[in-house]
């Protein structure tokens, strides 16, 4: 029995270990490559360390390959704004849909589902016109709003599911204790919904952080106002053979996303499943 259990445990670790290796390896390999000179990066007998230095990083960060730091700043600003706004919008909407019965609620939720079915990037032209009419074309706020429309529907579903798991008794206790409906939302429900909010924030952040098509259409073409994703895209097209530099730039782009991921990962399981279980 003990022997069998031991065997099962070894099997379990082997399976999880292999899967983890596959999950991590592509990124790990980019990391390895990012330290190699371009010529070594395309060697036919790859090694972990091959004249590895931090030169690639130095050259990318120094702006030699484009105004990397400016792109980085833009991306952080846009992603942060998208995150905050998406969380705010989907939290208020998710709460209303979770707690109140009001005419139009069903069609609102259905339209959120339908919105995800249309490839909105083919509507860049009408979107462009609207942003222009609103005076938001070329501004980061315009881009942020567009990102919100892609992130909010799913986030609302997610948060609605999470709010549904918080007993309504708490809302009522809060109202009896003297809170307004908004006070209940702000002081009781939001603090309790942290896991759900964390997932929402993560999702919204990723939506904005890696996106290329909208960013290249709606930001001004000046090099200094590009986001990382756009800048790197250009970089890829111009430097097809500089794998080492590309790898270093990619790692620099991936790091903030991974940091955000690490901050919220504890909450992901609880936050995501509440939304998915309840639908």
């Amino acid at each position: 029995m003990a022997r069998r259990r031991r065997l099962a445990s070894v099997g379990l670790h082997a399976a999880l270990g292999t899967a983890s290796l596959i999950a991590v390896f592509p990124v790990f390999w980019v990391l390895v490559t990012s330290f190699k000179p371009d010529a070594r990066a395309v060697g036919t007998s790859p090694r972990l360390l091959d004249e590895s230095t931090v030169d690639n990083y130095v050259r990318v960060l120094s702006g030699e390959k484009g105004d990397f730091l400016a792109w980085f700043g833009n991306s952080v600003q846009i992603a942060a704004l998208t995150t905050v706004l998406s969380v705010f919008l989907s939290a208020t909407t998710g709460y209303a849909v979770s707690r109140f019965r009001f005419p139009g609620k069903r069609s609102l939720m259905l339209s959120f589902l339908v919105v995800q079915m249309f490839p909105f990037a083919v509507l860049i032209v009408p979107l462009y016109d609207i942003l222009l009419a609103l005076g938001l074309q070329g501004t980061s706020l315009g881009l942020v709003l567009v990102y919100c429309t892609t992130a909010v529907p799913f986030c609302t579903y997610l948060l609605k599911g999470y709010f549904d798991t918080i007993p309504t008794d708490l809302d009522e206790a809060g109202r009896v204790d003297g809170l307004s409906p908004f006070g209940v939302f702000w002081r009781l429900i939001l603090p309790l919904a942290r896991p759900g909010l964390a997932v929402t924030a993560f999702y919204a952040f990723l939506t904005a952080w890696g996106e290329v098509a909208f960013a290249s259409a709606f930001l001004s073409a000046a090099d200094g106002s590009k986001t990382l994703a756009v800048g790197l895209q250009v970089f890829v097209q111009q430097n097809r053979t500089e794998w080492g530099h590309l790898a270093a730039a990619s790692i620099l782009v991936a790091v903030p996303a991974v940091v955000v991921f690490y901050l919220v990962q504890r909450h992901l399981v609880a936050g995501l499943s509440a939304g998915a279980v309840k639908g």
């Binding site: 708490l170 009522e172 206790a173 109202r175 009896v176 003297g178 809170l179 603090p191 309790l192």
Partner: protein
């Protein structure tokens, strides 16, 4: 402190047909009274309470607290405190924060809040737990925190929605007494919802019985028990339940298994005026007694004996007409009959018989 009144208050859920969860409830609760709302599930008792709290709309009629019409006032403007069945403690706040939250919202200064919280905690024996989160407390402690949260407010009315139903039996009995004593001490009007008729009987100054959204009767526990206004109240209050049987009526009284139980004249007259040939006859288990075989009584075959210690409950079958009806008799616990015995059962006194209209269920006896 304040009196509470429901003035033909209704809660109607839209639907087809609309559901009248609470139907034209009229009820006056004087200042300082402990009123219990009791009824089976779906009777509208919780809805009625929540209407008073402002958590449920009042679709028709009005509700007054302390003489003021609060029908359209949000909960926070009603000066009430409520204890929920689930306690609804805020999980992210400590016990002290939970209890002081309402005061904090009203802008009471911190020292004052702390003082009041400590006072209430002292009353409920919670001082040791003030810095814990609700998660780290036992069920009974959580219940006390919920009570404390209500007390700290010093509201004009306490509302309690089945606050004991998540406690184990022993703790429930203990807490029952504590709540009653607390209410006595504070002298604050209390509206208490429960489905448990023992709680209702033991705690309330008056008890209001609801069924299907309609108020059946509101009176003191004693009056409710002795003179139930209809067959429903008769059957609902008291444990074990009153024996309620529809039996043929004669000019003398009711016929049970060849035995005619004589009835009060006025009740008979009333039945005759209505042209009734049958009535619903009710007698409580303790109003029946086993009598020696040669005496006048109904024959009963013992089918089950529940020994409670002091008493025993004897369940048995009695023939009424062609049907076999079950009766429960409360007997002395030391000498219960054995299973399968045939015993004679008689009503202790004519005054202990309740008669109800067989269709409307309304009381016929005085």
């Amino acid at each position: 402190m304040a009196e509470v009144s429901y003035v033909k208050a209704s809660r109607v859920y839209s639907g087809n047909p609309p559901v009248r969860a609470v139907d034209e409830l009229s009820l006056d609760v004087p200042d300082g009274e402990f009123l219990v709302l009791v009824g089976p599930s779906g009777s509208g008792k919780s809805t009625a309470l929540r209407m008073l709290a402002g958590l449920e709309d009042v679709d028709e009629g009005a509700i007054h607290i302390g003489g003021k019409d609060v029908t359209n006032v949000p909960p926070k403007g009603r000066d009430i405190a409520m204890v929920f069945q689930s306690y609804a403690l805020y999980p992210h706040m400590t016990v002290a924060e939970n209890m002081g939250f309402a005061l904090k919202l009203r802008g009471v200064n911190k020292a004052e809040v702390r003082k009041k919280v400590e006072e209430a905690a002292g009353m409920l024996d919670l001082n040791k737990y003030l810095d814990r989160k609700p998660k780290a407390l036992s069920g009974g402690q959580r219940q006390r925190v919920a009570m404390g949260r209500a007390i700290v407010r010093e509201p004009s009315v306490f509302l309690m929605d089945e606050p004991l139903s998540n406690l184990d039996a022993k703790l429930r009995v203990e807490t029952r007494a504590n709540i009653a004593a607390l209410q006595q001490r504070l002298g604050t009007t209390m509206i208490y919802v429960t489905h448990d008729q023992i709680e209702a009987m033991t705690m309330g100054h008056r008890v209001a019985v609801l069924k299907d959204g309609l108020l059946q009767q509101c009176d003191t526990p004693r009056a409710l028990y002795d003179r139930p206004a209809n067959a429903f109240v008769a059957g609902f209050m008291g444990s074990p339940a009153m024996n309620l049987k529809t039996v043929p009526l004669t000019s003398e009284g009711v016929k049970l298994d060849g035995l005619v139980v004589p009835l009060d004249r006025r009740a008979l007259d009333r039945a005759a005026r209505e042209g009734l040939r049958e009535v619903t006859f009710g007698v409580r288990p303790e109003s029946l007694a086993l009598v020696p075989a040669h005496e006048y009584g109904m024959d009963m075959t013992v089918e089950l004996v529940e020994e409670l210690g002091a008493d025993a409950l004897v369940h048995g079958a009695v023939r009424i007409g062609n049907a076999s009806e079950r009766f429960v008799v409360r007997v002395d616990g030391r000498t219960p009959p054995a299973l399968g015995n045939r015993v004679k059962v008689a009503v202790r006194g004519a005054g202990e018989i309740h008669l109800f209209h067989p269709e409307s269920g309304l009381r016929l006896t005085d």
